[in-house]
């Protein structure tokens, strides 16, 4: 265990004791049922374990411990959370109430279709909604998160190319602004990744793309709007070039929040699009999931979708089927139903009008921040933005993007995404979402001006931030050098 200073921090340390350190022999957290059947013969002792070491702790202690832990977090419920590219919008509680309905929460995924018509109808309706939003031919809801959807999506591209007799096409182009998941997903799908630069306006460099449009081209993985928060004006030309060269276009829909009702990616030439329901359709992020990453595809790619997908028959019944030439299963069952039903609830409440409210206000809020903050930070691409704005903190030497971010934490604002995209030095990527008020944005703007003034006066002060958080900057090098990844049974239990 890392050395700590027990005298200085005894109380704090005590509060942070782990479950095993809190354990006392003889305590229990649940009243357990007795066995109501006659005793059965137990397996041979050689098959049983004798070493199960788990906490012994009461229900009240569990509640106090986890409540304490929760209070160490920032969250959308407690703080403005303008984490770029993550779409940290408010998560409506009706979504939670619906997902918890016993007919949904207690349904088993292997029940017969006849016993599951409610869930299958919900699946079908959501497939239709997402297909409509993206302007595509069909949807698979099975991918379990965004990156899982990317992998599923590029696997369908691979399968479609193979079906065309084009198995030599294994080169996947990815702009230098892309999320790391794009190249990682392409590599998992067996593609060779080639990076394509951006042009001076922040669009994909069309000439560099054209130079790669060769006989081994599988396609391009493209985020629209881009991670620079821009609607890429070269996207349509890009789709044409890739299609003419025999490739297919994958659309990363991580930033779909800006596009709802404004444009359909299927109509501008994308062949496959994944969506992050935990971003655009407001299912809670949960500290790192669960998510859902459905994919929508063109007619040509539909037979290759991962399954099962849901079909509606003429007699108004719903059925799960594997598409004709499916790439197979991506997980155990039919997707994260509990997440999917939340997204359907959200879409149903807001309706078509609500979709436009989302994109319009999200984009207005981002442009408002751009207009107000451009005098504090450098703006690498001076254009109107979509859902988020990317600044560079390099204007004021001595106060890095990291310093600014950490100081924001002191004032109850979560930090923007830092140092991404990689093409912007000292990047600060700010995504306000549509669920924040002008008052909140104004106080955030004011705070960034104040931090800038602090930096001008005493930059060393910023290097020490944050000061008001449960812990200060962490020794990350130590964590990696001496990995301490769990409570160790050999540790003496502190008392």
């Amino acid at each position: 265990m890392p050395t700590t200073n027990p005298n200085l921090h005894e109380e704090a340390h005590n509060k942070r004791r782990t479950l095993m350190e809190r354990s006392r022999a003889g305590r229990t957290g649940v009243a357990l049922p007795a066995c109501d059947v006659p005793p059965q013969i137990m397996p041979d002792a050689s098959m049983l374990r004798g070493d199960l070491e788990l906490p012994e702790i009461t229900e009240g202690e569990v509640v106090r411990y986890f409540t304490y832990l929760s209070q160490l977090n920032f969250s959308v419920d407690t703080n403005f959370y303008p984490l770029g590219s993550c779409t940290m919008k408010y998560n409506p509680r009706i979504n939670e109430a619906v997902a918890a309905l016993p007919g949904f929460a207690m349904a088993h995924p292997l029940q017969s279709e006849r016993q599951s018509q409610g869930t299958l109808e919900a699946f079908f309706t959501l497939q239709e909604r997402l297909r409509e939003v993206t302007g595509m031919a069909s949807t698979s809801l099975t991918p379990l998160a965004g990156a899982h959807g990317e992998l599923a999506g590029v696997l369908t591209i691979r399968a479609a190319l193979d079906a065309r007799g084009q198995s030599q096409r294994r080169k996947m182009l990815i702009p230098d602004t892309a999320h790391g998941t794009n190249p990682a997903s392409a590599a998992m799908a067996g593609f060779d990744v080639v990076s394509v630069p951006s042009d001076p306006n922040g669009n994909i460099d069309i000439e560099a793309l054209r130079a790669q449009a060769t006989g081994d081209l599988a396609g391009v993985m493209f985020t629209q709007p881009t991670t620079l928060g821009l609607f890429d004006r070269n996207a349509i030309e890009m789709c044409n070039i890739v299609h003419e060269a025999g490739g297919l276009v994958y659309g990363d829909g991580a930033n779909m929040n800006a596009l709802l009702g404004r444009v359909k990616l299927g109509e501008i030439g994308f062949d496959v699009v994944h969506m992050n329901l935990h971003k655009t359709f407001s299912t809670p992020h949960g500290g790192g999931g669960p998510g859902a990453g459905p994919i929508c595809v063109t007619e040509e790619i539909s037979p290759f979708l991962p399954g099962p997908v849901v079909e509606k028959h003429e007699d108004e019944t719903y059925h799960s089927v594997m598409p004709a030439r499916s790439i197979g299963r991506m997980g155990g069952y039919q997707g994260n139903f509990g997440v999917l039903i939340r997204a359907l609830t959200y879409i149903t409440l807001l309706g078509g009008e609500g979709m436009l409210e989302i994109s319009g206000n999200a984009v207005l809020n981002a442009n408002y921040l751009l207009a107000k903050l451009r005098s504090v930070f450098e703006l690498p691409y001076d254009r109107s933005v979509m859902h988020e704005v990317v600044f560079s903190a390099k204007r004021r030497k001595g106060a890095s993007a990291l310093d600014v971010s950490k100081r924001l934490l002191d004032h109850g604002f979560h930090a923007p995404t830092m140092y991404f995209p990689l093409v912007v030095a000292e990047a600060l990527m700010i995504e306000p979402t549509e669920t924040e008020s002008k008052e909140t944005l104004d106080s955030f703007i004011e705070m960034l001006f104040a931090i800038d003034a602090e930096a001008a006066e005493d930059e060393a002060f910023l290097h020490g931030a944050p000061y008001n958080t449960p812990v200060s900057r962490m020794d990350e090098a130590r964590a990696a050098r001496q990995p301490h990844l769990r409570w160790e049974p050999t540790e003496s239990v502190a008392d």
Partner: protein, 440 residues
Amino acid sequence: MSDLPFASPYVPNTDEDRAAMLAAVGATSIGDLFADIPVEFRHPELRIPAPMSEMELRQEMERLASRNFHAGTHSSFLGAGVYNHYCPAVIPPLVTRGEFLTSYTPYQPEVSQGTLQATFEFQTMTAQIFGMEVSNAGMYDGASAFAEAALMACRITKLARVALVSTVNPHYSEAVRSYARPQEIEVYTIEPNATELLPGTAAVLAQNPNFFGYIEDLQRLSDMAHAAGALFCLSADPVAAAMLKAPGAYNADIATGEGQALGVPMSFGGPYVGIFTCRKKYIRQLPGRIVGQTVDTKGRLGYVLTLQPREQHIRREHATSNICTSTALIGLWVTMYTALMGKRGMRHVAELCYQKAHYAAARIAKLPNYNLALEGTFFQEFVVRCPLPPAEVNRRLEERGIIGGLDVSGFIENGMLFCVTEVNSREQIEALAAALEGIE
């Protein structure tokens, strides 16, 4: 009373706010902000129904939910990888506290210590249950975790062929194939009693209990793998592991599992959490997030995401996996479940499942025209050979308010895979036996 115009309850901007903000931006309308979209594609028709009030929406969703059969209205004997275990009442309100529910992946450790420490606890609980050295922060589900284990074994051994034991859950086998195919990793099947492997095998992939509920000779499979220079990867049920020998005791190199069994709602297939544990020497090949303990600038104990140079946001196409958002909240759920159940409760629940399942199996085996299809030791699931096709048996059980077992007639003639857990009362078991007796 006049009709209200639509107003989203989630968007605070008023017309006045919008006017002020547009003026600051230098635009005349919100439509102007979308000028980068070519006009011929801008503002397409969007065929999504009109907004709905929360009240009507809830009624509509309740209508859908009421169309499903579920374990709350029917006694259910369906398992096959997804298990109905009792969840203590304290968990849902605690896990859905907004500070847990609405936070992001803990990239800013100073304001994410809650999620980070809870994840460290998850890593402790899962490693303890499986008797393994280390755990990651969790994967999407049991099937994808198992598939990632196959890929990891190939990275470690630098080989491209894995042996899949034939009794593994077929959905898991499919997921392994979906992941392996594009990386040109060969997946071949071996029987549980196989005595040799093809040369160049990276791993033997087995399951405990197997798809049919039985316990294989795991020590022999493990020894065979190791003798051939392959890794032994075991997908295990964490509830069974509280009673039966854990994966670590069989010298598993990588042990994965479906965390759903630890009190997580079945929710028609997800969200669940994949457990992923391994030997400490392989931590730099792990997929996914890992939380480690460290100290802050003042020497105070705390936690961070660590060993990140394995991950996609740094290594891009050279990452160990593409996984980003996973299922942290479900990880929190199973951590709370394990803490509450604790040493005593976990073992007790496992024994209840075993006892009740064996009682049910014995009751059914005594019925005329029914018998157990397999021999050996099972945990909470067993295969019954029925006198009629299982689909027909299930239809008739349904008439009596019972969700029957899984139809496995594709593997065993007229076979039905029954599952009995602690939530199935003796009364339910007797009713099942009586209902089956009437079906012939």
